[in-house]
């Protein structure tokens, strides 16, 4: 039986650790990536990283902690990333529209490079118009072939039209697609174009409802026939069995 992993949840923004665990239990979600709140992505990187590590430590392996490091902090950001990874963080999150940069900016290159050295997967929020174009993230991935990038939200809404071309023609080995905020009925075509081993399910809670998103996605794509989507792909790129 597939162990369902929710590939992106923000712990905070009103969602407490206990509430999240209750929601996961009720929805049949075994594990979830936990990501920093927006203010932690933008400003309070270090505080957020420590908060998530502490929460993960008390959750018996059910939380997969992500961390933040804003490229505006330069060398400090690298040091902070190293600390977070030593502490157990498993992904680095970029929200370029929140943090104020574009994935094609030179200032993000050192962090992308370091992520590759650390074998750390980078999750990029895509969708916001100027600062969240999937095509920007694809260029960054081309420049850093040793770093894995997850394109969060498949560009939803207005950059969704880019995803078809990206999935068909530009999906280098280090690129993956993630489904939160993507309408469930659009996901089959992404799977078809990108391949079953490249797409990762996530709810994006608490911006959305964790159980509702999973239920609607299962209505579209059953768990039984899509083990990669619902957890195996993410576990594989995080270096776990699967």
């Amino acid at each position: 039986m597939t162990m369902i992993v929710d590939g992106y949840v923000t712990l905070g923004d009103g969602l407490t650790r206990d509430a999240l665990l209750r929601q996961m239990d009720a929805a049949g979600v075994a594990r979830a990536v936990i990501a920093p709140e927006d203010r932690e992505l933008a400003v309070y990187n270090e505080e957020g990283n420590q908060r998530l590590l502490a929460a993960a430590g008390r959750a018996g392996g059910r939380f997969i902690p992500a961390c933040a490091a804003t490229p505006w902090r330069g060398e400090e950001a690298i040091a902070s990333l190293d600390r977070a990874v030593r502490g157990g963080c498993r992904l680095l999150v970029f929200a370029p529209a929140v943090q104020g940069f574009m994935m094609t900016d030179d200032r993000v290159a050192p962090l992308l490079h370091r992520a590759g050295e650390l074998d750390l997967t980078v999750y990029v929020h895509t969708g916001p118009h100027s600062m969240g174009a999937p095509t920007q993230a694809v260029l960054a991935a081309q420049r850093h072939p040793g770093t894995r990038l997850i394109l969060g939200h498949c560009g939803s809404t207005d950059h969704a039209w880019d995803i078809g071309a990206v999935a068909r023609c530009h999906l280098a080995d280090n690129l993956f697609l993630e489904t939160s905020l993507a309408r469930p009925w659009t996901v089959p075509q992404y799977l078809e174009a990108a391949g079953a081993d490249r797409v990762i399910y996530a709810s994006g809670a608490p911006r959305t409802d964790l159980a509702f998103e999973l239920d609607r996605m299962r209505e579209t794509l059953p768990v039984e026939t899509h083990p990669g989507l619902y957890g195996d792909n993410l576990r594989r790129i995080l270096g776990e069995a699967g």
């Binding site: 529209a97 969708g127 916001p128 118009h129 100027s130 939803s156 809404t157 207005d158 905020l181 309408r183 469930p184 009925w185 994006g204 608490p206 911006r207 959305t208 409802d209 509702f212 609607r216 209505e219």
Partner: protein, 255 residues
């Protein structure tokens, strides 16, 4: 059936290609989810200005076979202001079209050009709202629509997507910036919907699904998503019935 009005749908080309001008399948899909009436916006004309007039005729034919369940809206290519105003006047004069829709992003025109001011005056003359795709810079921002509404206080302006994922806070600010700005809950995620419900006057909120752009059934997501808001009776009645009836002037139109 209880009245539940979907204020944002389309009759996409794929429906005519399959069903001609017969709305039975389209209506069956809406009916399956309890939608009793729909405002039907153009689709082909948003991509191809040359297709606008013919699409209007088609929309009128389709909606006339719906026993009042489908109410058409028209569009125009604002880059040709004279033709645009005359085509919209032709539609509105017939009495069946109840709104003017623009998708400034797809149609490639700014909300802030003088021709849009003329269109706003024409809408006021016929007592129908302007409906915009919104949530997408640089041509489809709620703030651009709020200023248009401020310049034309007699014209109701509907934000067709209430800001989508990125601009829902701007949409709420736009609704509060002018009494004639309305927001259609069609696009934002749950957190965005809650934000809008909390901050916008209830009497200017609508609901829509964007259904019909393609053949795919998106209602299995859009309809139950609204259940998560746990609207009380007064909110549901306003958003699904009384508000759309008021803004589109549907009192005498609905079956």
């Amino acid at each position: 059936m209880m009245i539940r009005i979907d204020s944002h749908t389309h009759w996409g080309r794929c429906w005519s290609e399959r069903d001609g001008a017969d709305p039975s399948n389209w209506l069956a899909l809406a009916g399956k989810y309890g939608v009793s009436h729909s405002l039907v916006l153009p689709e082909h004309g948003l991509f191809n200005a040359g297709a606008i007039a013919a699409e209007h005729d088609l929309l009128e034919r389709v909606c006339s076979r719906s026993q009042g369940a489908m109410v058409p809206c028209c569009t125009a290519c604002i880059w040709e202001p004279v033709e645009a105003l005359s085509e919209v006047r032709r539609c509105l004069s017939g009495g069946r079209f109840r709104g003017i829709k623009f998708h400034p992003w797809l149609q490639g025109c700014s909300v802030s050009v003088p021709a849009m001011d003329d269109m706003a005056d024409l809408a006021a003359e016929f007592g129908v709202p302007l409906i915009f795709h919104d949530g997408t810079p640089p041509f489809s921002l709620p703030s651009q629509m709020a200023l248009l509404a401020q310049r034309h206080p007699r014209t109701n302006v509907i934000l067709g997507h209430a800001g989508l994922f990125e601009h829902y806070q701007e949409a709420a600010a736009a609704v509060r910036a002018a009494d004639n700005v309305w927001a259609c809950l069609c696009g934002p995620h749950l957190e965005g919907l809650r934000h809008l419900l909390d901050r916008c006057p209830l009497e200017r909120l609508l609901w829509g699904t964007d259904s019909g752009f393609g053949l795919v059934d998106g209602l299995y997501y859009r309809v139950p998503l609204m259940d998560l808001l746990r609207l009380n009776d007064a909110q549901a009645e306003a958003i699904y019935q009384t508000n759309p009836i008021r803004v589109f002037g549907l009192h005498g139109v609905l079956a």
